[in-house]
């Protein structure tokens, strides 16, 4: 019964001024127990805003984040009986490719990036992978019982290679044992649309 907020790609103040008012009204402290942020906050104030929502927060480094900010590249954490992996996704070439995302979920420690050494850890995947960078909301179930969640951009910031504005969105997960109920919040014009999707029978590989 844990409420986990997945949010990211805010790009404040580089591409957008602030989080939409409708989202700020919803995101009040006291309701959410964990926050997983996919990165690209680009601002200390935005980090404070997210910390106010919930003090238990994990942020990973995106490609546009401040060079001085000390976020890790990747993060693995347990929520209830499931293991969650968090990564921004710009490190995987080609960007937003479903196959490389799926293999990142399965072999979370094995991806070789630039000078990162091959990890001596055991080959442990995660049950749920949370990535960003595509700026579009997507939730995919993999064939081996895993889940890949992309909460999109919470501010509607455009991607690096196009000026087209994106739809603001984030995902709230209600983790109950090995069942996840995902509530997706998107802004269509002036209204917020909330949708609920249930993912049952997720595989259980808790990170030790």
């Amino acid at each position: 019964m844990v409420l986990v907020l997945t949010i990211g790609d805010l790009h404040i103040p580089n591409r957008v001024a602030a989080v939409p008012l409708k989202f700020r009204e919803l995101l009040v402290p006291g309701k959410i127990q964990r926050v997983l942020c996919t990165g690209n906050l680009c601002d200390k104030e935005t980090e404070e805003f997210l910390k106010v929502i919930c003090p238990e927060i994990q942020i990973v480094k995106g490609d546009m984040d401040d060079v001085q900010s000390e976020y890790p590249e990747r993060c693995v954490t347990n929520v209830g009986q499931l293991s969650f992996g968090l990564c921004h996704g710009h490190q995987l070439i080609p960007w937003n490719d479903p196959n490389s995302l799926a293999s990142l979920r399965r072999f979370a420690w094995r991806i070789i990036l630039f000078n990162l050494a091959y990890s001596k850890h055991r080959d442990m995947g995660v049950d749920v992978l949370v990535v960003g960078h595509s700026h579009s909301l997507k939730m995919t179930e993999t064939v081996d019982g895993g889940l890949i969640i992309d909460p999109g951009t919470a501010t509607g910031a455009p991607v690096a290679y196009s000026l087209e504005p994106k739809r603001p969105s984030f995902v709230l997960l209600d983790v109950q044992g090995t069942k996840i109920i995902a509530y997706t919040y998107e802004i269509y014009g002036e209204d917020i649309k909330v949708d609920r999707v249930v993912f049952e029978r997720l595989a259980n590989t808790t990170f030790q």
Binding site: L3, L26, L27, D174, I181, Y183, V194, R196
Partner: protein, 299 residues
């Protein structure tokens, strides 16, 4: 001679006790069934014999006698109803509704808003119950039961809600029904019985003090008049020093002396208090007189 279930339980409870004690228990149980109106005078004179479980039986009989029929499973039904996590309710009633009720829903009739305010209430209750008799292991073990009882009471009586101090009033019931009465009932039934007892005791007796400030003031005025009648010297002394009765007597009345006496003595006082029928406000009179006697004793 026909033995009722009460007789059977009572004889089981005191089966290993000395004969004189057994006789007293039989006498008490007989009186409970035949002539309940005289039970209070019996208890004032002789007290309830210290046999494990007997006090719980006597309290239950006194409360049920003065109360309409209460089903014990209504307690656990209530707990199941109010302590549900929102998604289970949604699965049951949701068919194809237009809008999805989500955890961040700010509207007041959202199930999730109810859930979060219930969680805040639970936190307040938990904070108080952790401070009730902090040195007694019994109460640390039974803390979940206390929290459940107080939460259900607050939900069933929204006009009263949860008031700080209810945790002290619940403690003797937890002791008597869940510890002392563990020979008579198992854990679940004991908790239901304790809740019924607490519910009826609070609603019929103490609630008026919390709801209406004038009742409290009236009671204090009555106590002052009594003291004037019994010991005018002491009354004048208090008046001269402008001692306000609500400074000390308010806590005595509102908590029914829970904080003034240790649990063993408190139970003896409550034996008498609960055995007095409430419908003629005799209980109030007795309690007020007791308070005045306490003041006299402090002299």
């Amino acid at each position: 001679m026909m033995t009722s279930p009460l007789d059977k339980i009572a004889s089981y409870l005191c089966s290993h006790q000395p004969f004189a004690l057994q006789k007293r228990v039989v006498e008490l149980v007989h009186l409970l069934q035949q002539d309940p109106n005289r039970i209070s005078s019996y208890i004032i004179l002789y007290g309830i014999p210290e046999v494990a479980g007997l006090r719980a039986l006597v309290w239950s009989c006194c409360i049920r006698h003065w109360l309409a029929f209460h089903r014990t499973d209504s307690y656990w039904d209530g707990v199941a109803l109010y302590c549900r996590y929102p998604t289970e309710q949604l699965w049951k009633d949701d068919s194809c509704s237009e809008t999805v009720d989500h955890p961040l829903n700010p509207s007041q009739d959202s199930i999730w808003q109810q859930y979060f305010s219930d969680q805040r209430l639970m936190d307040r209750i938990r904070m108080d119950t952790s401070r009730t008799h902090p040195d007694w292991h019994l109460f640390r073990q039974r803390e979940p039961s206390m929290i459940r009882m107080l939460f259900l009471f607050a939900k069933q009586h929204p006009e009263l809600g949860y008031i700080q101090g209810m945790n002290e009033l619940v403690a003797p019931f937890v002791y008597v029904y869940l510890w002392d009465g563990s020979l008579v009932w198992d854990e679940k039934e004991g908790e239901a019985e304790a809740f019924i007892a607490f519910d009826s005791f609070f609603c019929s007796f103490v609630a008026s003090l919390y709801q209406n400030i004038s009742y409290l003031q009236e009671a204090l005025v009555q106590a002052e008049l009594l003291l004037k009648q019994w010991d005018s010297l002491l009354w004048q002394h208090l008046k001269r020093h402008q001692v306000d009765w609500s400074l000390f007597a308010r806590r005595w009345l509102q908590l029914c002396l829970c904080r003034e006496f240790e649990l063993p003595e408190l139970l003896k006082i409550w034996d008498v208090l609960l055995s007095i029928p409430n419908h003629s406000s005799l209980r109030w009179t007795w309690l007020i007189r007791f308070i005045v006697v306490m003041v006299l004793h402090c002299k």
